[in-house]
Symmetry: D3
Subunit: 176 residues, 6 copies
């Protein structure tokens, strides 16, 4: 019987912490499902990258770390307005899984109420592995490049990720 | 001719103030419609309870106060994106009504523009009967239990309401 | 422990068959939940009546049959695009229930897959108690009035139900 | 006081009948609102053209007929799932109007129930001025060009309207 | 070949700055498209006016300034959840255009990524021509009337715009 | 430079024809994207299986055929109401691609209008490789098992696929 664990995050952007967690999960289960949350969001300060961009970056980052992609499913998960149906929504989009990994209190609570076993990935106390910290550094022109895998960085350069974030952070002085 | 009044709130959670207002309205009209606003919301700090949980709590709280439930309709009302159609939306979901009771400025304004008579329920200046105050006390572990009817409290204990709110209030330190 | 059963239909319109089934269910459980399906629909040949109109008619029809309304919850249930989340959606809108009553194959299948006990109400082979048959007779000006409870008929006359259906059945000869 | 009438259709495509009706309405009111219904639809056999394409064609067709465009508002109206709120929806999208012109039974019924005066445009019994007839001729390669204004025809040629319809009418023999 | 430029804003409310920009654009292109953004929004502090009200005000304001309305298309543009599809959405709702005018960083970024030429309208550094400033003055009862065209002011008085904003700005002391 | 082709279908269910086409595409491009259309649909006669079930079946079927899954991305694509934005929607959900493979006339037309190169997969004239044919045989209890890969058949047995389809095909004799 194949065992599967799902790691749910927004991956804005995927960083080395995500890769590390993925490796750990793959020691515990046969297959890893990466649930790309808020999949419908992009081009905002909180969610700068499209689902497609994130899927590409995640698969490259995992491959770079030597993870066998045939053991991984990457699934975009759009938000639903009604949190009470969110677990069903994830279940309907994904191959079946028995373990849930997330650091998000809402995600954890919803799966817990639905009777799932939820595990908080054991690390990332270090602020560098917060997506918010990385996005903030990108806007301010601070050092962030070493926080993401090399192949992820390549994609981000190709899509001019930092320029996008800086553009989006400008004040709208006008027409409203 | 049956007269009906609609009381619109979010009931997160229903409290003694809501029950008091309901009694008053039932002195003025034959039937009370309880419009459960933001019905699609749940599991957030602002809207922790599902529509179903709120409907159950409201019906129990009203019965506990000796209100004849055959004079009451409880109607979940999901939000609509476009406020300009919200009154039509409520009208389409509810038995016909002639009076509207709400303390919410937007609700009052929209019904006023649509030509309805809107009444602000005459009490609740007292902060204890704000839903926000109750939710805040639940998170902080302060005294809140006496602010809701006994039967409502029972439901809240059964669904571990305080635990849910505390869980949701935790910081998301991680994966994004 | 209160037991509850949910009867799910579209009630376009509520008819004597629905009332009969409701009575039967209330012999088996403490409280009846009437789930008014496709609640967002109205003014079509399949779904001529708004949720509000249906709720009013159902509550009157049940009261006319001597059913104690304090044992009944009437809940409008809007459709969701994704059937796989529909059971969660119903559960989130309704007080908790342990038995499901429906004649609709999709409803039955979805609840069955979710692990619920589903019962097909035991009657209604008789075509007169099909909503479709009643609507068809209304359009064609045939005899239908005796198929619905007297109080339901009153509401239908007040809202000019037959005229609405006839209007909607006219051919659109023009502007498109 | 400016008087306004709204003509509601889908304009798939706009044809000489629509222009004729527009002229008549502008004899009765100061300003004409053209409500482009099912605005979100395009690239189907029923609704081949986008809202933007239809707006462009309508404005050209009206100008060609010598109608002063400063007396006309063209407003795209996306469908709403809930018919009971549709009139509010139209009202919220449009400058205020006092008369409604439509041949569609649902549109007429909804505005009538909302207390509006609805007029059926007095012509178009002739099948050539049905959008469905024109679309059918386009697919079958029959004569249709003389049924639309010359400037509309120009736009349709530019966007290869007939090719689009023929493509969409092909059978999907495969992947599902 | 007709050239068209689109000016995208929310027009909450339209003000003299908008009119000025419109004039400038009409010196550069044959036809002006006014894209009324967040069209589905109304009755909030950020977006107090419906799309219909804004369309009426814009057309009056432009006419008052002597602009030939037959050179103008006013198109309501509802928001879409997914920014990555927003440019397609605008394109599908509007007659074709070659130049985009907006001061909004997101709008500019999205059109830039889609390969459009985006121009920032050259003025409006002056705070008086910010919609937010005007709405703020309306709430506080400060001087704002001279910032909008006379005909726009007339509409705003007719719909009691200031009263609406003041009502919406009241605190919701109660039912939640 | 990595080249990618996208194969768009509904995969209700995935069959040997899909696998064959996938192999062919992987001879022409470096990576294959499998776009699982109408991802939000399930439990209907047209779309019996959830996106999650289809993703699982597709990945197993491809692996069974010896295809290296690290060269494949499987992306669920929910429908959008507005066809005119559908291509943008697909692009935003998927890693970048240069070739599109589909037999669906709408899909082909939309990508063609957006400037993409669209290829019709060269086979499948044989009716056995139509999803509709397979679903029809499942309902009628005819021979269908040999039309899908062995591993797909296993999943279908596990989720009782034939029973689901038969259940859904029953007549709704009752409550409406």
């Amino acid at each position: 019987m194949v065992t599967r664990g799902i790691l749910i995050g927004r991956f804005q952007p995927p960083h080395k912490g995500h890769i590390e967690v993925s490796k750990q999960i793959l020691r515990e289960v046969d297959e890893l499902i990466v649930g790309v949350g808020s999949a419908q969001e992009s081009h905002t300060l909180e969610n700068p990258f499209t689902a497609g961009e994130r899927i590409l970056m995640i698969s490259k980052g995992l491959a770079e770390a030597g993870i066998d992609l045939s053991r991984v499913h990457i699934i975009p998960i759009p938000d639903v307005k009604n949190h009470a149906i969110w677990v069903s929504h994830v279940v309907s989009l994904s191959p079946p899984f028995s373990a849930v990994y997330s650091g998000n209190p809402l995600v954890k609570r919803l799966f817990k109420e639905a009777g799932f076993k939820v595990k908080a990935p054991p690390m990332f106390k270090r602020k560098e592995y917060w997506g918010a910290e990385i996005r903030d550094r990108m806007i301010k022109g601070k050092n962030w490049e070493q926080l993401v895998p090399k192949t992820v960085l390549e994609v981000m350069k190709e899509i001019k990720a930092a320029e996008r974030l800086k553009d989006l952070s400008k004040t709208d002085y006008l027409l409203s």
